[in-house]
């Protein structure tokens, strides 16, 4: 057991898989010599060499095209898109090519491919380097979508993503890179499509993702002192989705809150609320509530960014108002 930062966990997860399987390679801007712009991949070049850890031009289509072609022909690439916002530059390759190819070819082509990226805000980077785009990916058939919230999960879910025969979008929360937690020694492998109950509780189910998980947990501790006992679930994987754990919890607590960093309109919380309404409606004691960023691009100034991304105080107030 060692304390590890979230960013160091990324490198450890990748190294674990590159060690295990020589078909795994890493490709992206500044991932090799520089060790990643967020220092998520230091040491990999020295350890695995320039044939497997490859710096690329600033050319997102070329990066993901190369990863896709390599995945079609026997390798298991991990490609980095530096900021999740830049997915917009490469959306054709992601949506029209990577996501659809297995289906269009009637199962002939398998794409064991991971695209890792820095997602989310909290670093005051402004609208083009801060947004949370997991909703975009979730809406596309053929993409798996994962967002770890702890260093341990970074390693375990990275392993699951690399071992998946399907394309996985791996959303690292860039606002969490400096966070630290204990990570067990040895190989860690999770399963995609598994959520984790971070805090058991009886009064309401709170669903969160990425940076919203520690905030929801902090809010739960504050409300616990007021006698409100929240169950906090780290969704971790939007596709595939662990509806079993989530619905079982909602049925038990009778209340549902989602805490999302993305804008509310068509956010993943809307889908989960719809599923709960459809399948456990009679177990609900009140309408589900979504706590989200408003429908705005993310501002840069600290005060402004903090005012729109759900913070502990807003989570506490919203839940308190609804439950008391």
């Amino acid at each position: 057991m060692a304390e590890l930062t979230y960013r160091a966990a990324v490198a450890r997860g990748i190294a674990q898989e590159m060690d295990r399987d020589e078909r795994v390679l890493l490709i992206g801007e500044d991932v090799a010599g520089a060790g990643g712009v967020f220092k998520t991949t230091p040491g990999l070049l020295e350890r695995f060499g320039p044939r497997r850890v490859i710096d690329t031009p600033i050319a997102e289509q070329a990066i993901l095209g190369a990863a896709m072609g390599a995945a079609m022909t026997g390798l298991r690439p991990i490609a980095e898109i530096m900021f999740a916002d830049f997915f917009a530059v490469t959306w054709d390759i992601v949506v029209n090519q990577i996501a659809k190819t297995r289906y269009m070819t009637n199962g002939q082509v398998t794409l064991p491919l991971v695209i890792k990226t820095g997602n989310g805000g909290n670093l005051r980077f402004g609208a083009q380097h801060s947004q949370s785009i997991e909703n975009w990916a979730m809406a596309v058939p053929g993409l798996k979508v994962v967002t770890p919230s702890t260093p341990r999960d970074v390693v375990g879910l990275m392993a699951a993503a690399v071992r998946s025969d399907d394309p996985v979008l791996f959303f690292e929360h860039k606002g969490m890179y400096a966070s630290k937690a204990d990570v067990p020694d040895g190989e860690i492998v999770d399963a995609l499509g598994t959520s984790v109950i971070r805090r058991p509780g009886t009064d309401a189910t709170v669903l969160a993702l990425g940076l919203m998980v520690p905030r929801a947990l902090e809010a739960a501790e504050m409300l616990a002192s007021e006698g409100i006992d929240l169950e906090v679930i780290d969704v971790r994987s939007l596709v595939p989705l662990d509806t079993r754990t989530i619905l079982e919890s909602v049925s038990r607590t009778g209340r549902l809150f989602t805490v999302e960093e993305n804008p509310q309109l068509l956010g993943w919380g809307a889908e989960l609320v719809a599923i709960a309404s459809d399948e456990v409606f009679w177990d609900l004691d009140a309408p589900p509530v979504r706590i989200t960023t408003p429908h705005v691009p993310l501002p840069s100034a600290a005060a402004l960014e903090d005012s729109v991304i759900p913070g502990v105080e807003r989570i506490v107030q919203t839940i308190r108002k609804r439950l008391v």
């Binding site: 390679l25 044939r51 497997r52 490859i54 690329t56 031009p57 050319a59 289509q61 070329a62 993901l64 095209g65 190369a66 990863a67 896709m68 072609g69 390599a70 995945a71 079609m72 022909t73 026997g74 390798l75 690439p77 054709d92 390759i93 029209n96 090519q97 190819t101 297995r102 289906y103 269009m104 070819t105 009637n106 199962g107 002939q108 082509v109 398998t110 064991p112 058939p141 053929g142 998946s164 025969d165 399907d166 499509g193 596709v239 595939p240 989705l241 662990d242 509806t243 079993r244 599923i275």
Partner: protein
């Protein structure tokens, strides 16, 4: 061979054709059986696409299709030069690219007709023909996308040391999209074993490429800027294409990196099923119909002493094969409706939740 086809001042797109009786390759180092094989392939591509068109007119093929009638020499010439385990990346105008790797006709026609025995079980259609077992790693309907993907297959071959070469076909219109430029730079930087083949048929969908491109050779003129060797070739002369393909594939296989070839040709029809191609000057169309790759090749084979009867026999054999493939395709079952929900994921299904 470098072939100065036209001067192409802005707005003028009437191509200057080479002499009708193109003797340049009459004495090229190609044996009789290779040439007869190329001739047979030209006939297969031509006759199968004509049949596809007929089936469209009879409403047995739905959706759309993009035929490469008149452009067959490029696919045929490259296909015959490739190793069985080499990779092809095709465009949405990809019937010929696919067939020229040895993919049988019946599953191709069945796919066009949306049948269960189609190459993709009816899930892909005309624009997405793929046959992994023949090295045909897909036909791509978004302009330019497959150039960057072809690089990935080439990178993989390079890392695995497999000696495989990737051949990536694309049209002249592709040369103005960003992915083309990203792809060429990327291939050159890593010295990838990939051959980019521009099929310049003079029209970017409905618009003459010369009207909206500032250089006369939209692909070849730009290759050097990215560090790629390039050349142009008479895309209607199957011998010219085949010899160039042999050379470029050998270079790539020897580790000499990527190359680009611009094969100048012309499509006999419009852009797609819906387009009669009326925007093209009659004189231009007539000239290119005369300069047909099959007519051209029959002329050469005749000069080399191949009896017309022998070529006619090949034509008839191909016609019989196309008829047989049509029957197999027409008799194919409709796809099982349940198959609409398979193969989103590697487990064979489409379920996104537990």
């Amino acid at each position: 061979m470098s072939w100065p086809l036209q001067t192409h001042p802005y707005g003028e797109h009437a191509p200057v054709l080479p002499p009708m009786e193109n003797r340049d390759f009459d004495h090229a180092a190609l044996d009789r059986s290779t040439r007869l094989g190329l001739y047979r392939r030209l006939q297969e591509l031509r006759q199968l696409e004509k049949r596809a068109y007929d089936l469209f007119m009879r409403n047995l093929v739905k959706g759309t299709s993009h035929l490469s009638l008149g452009m067959e020499a490029i696919s045929a010439g490259f296909g015959a030069a490739m190793r069985p385990d080499d990779y092809t990346f095709a465009t949405y105008r990809g019937h010929a690219h696919t067939l020229s790797r040895g993919v049988p006709m019946a599953p191709v026609l069945a796919e066009l007709m949306g049948r269960a025995n189609g190459l993709l079980g009816g899930k892909g259609g005309s624009m997405h023909l793929t046959s992994v077992e023949h090295g045909v790693l897909g036909s791509y309907a978004i302009i330019g996308a497959h150039l960057v993907i072809a690089n990935g297959a080439a990178l993989s071959a390079q890392l695995r040391g497999s000696g495989q070469v990737t051949v990536c076909f694309f049209g002249d219109g592709t040369t103005n999209i960003g992915a083309f430029h990203e792809a060429l730079n990327f291939a050159a930087v890593y010295s990838l074993p990939v051959v980019f083949v521009c099929e310049n048929n003079h029209y970017m969908e409905y618009t003459p490429i010369g009207d909206i491109t500032a250089v006369p050779r939209p692909a070849a003129d730009r290759a050097a800027a990215y560090g790629l060797a390039s050349r142009t070739v008479d895309g209607n002369d199957v011998d010219a294409v085949h010899l160039a393909a042999q050379e470029l594939l050998a270079q790539a296989r020897a580790g000499e990196g990527p190359s680009l070839i611009e094969a100048v040709t012309y499509r006999h029809g419009g852009h797609s099923r819906a387009d009669p191609g009326k925007y093209r000057p009659d004189k231009e169309v007539r000239a290119w119909l005369d300069y047909d790759p099959i007519t051209l090749y029959r002329g050469r084979l005749g000069r080399l002493g191949v009896p017309a009867a022998e070529l006619d026999a090949i034509d008839r054999e191909v016609a019989a094969a196309v008829d047989e493939a049509t029957e197999i395709a027409r008799n194919g079952a409709e796809p099982d409706i349940a198959s609409a929900l398979t193969d989103v994921w590697a487990d064979g299904g489409s379920s996104w939740r537990n």
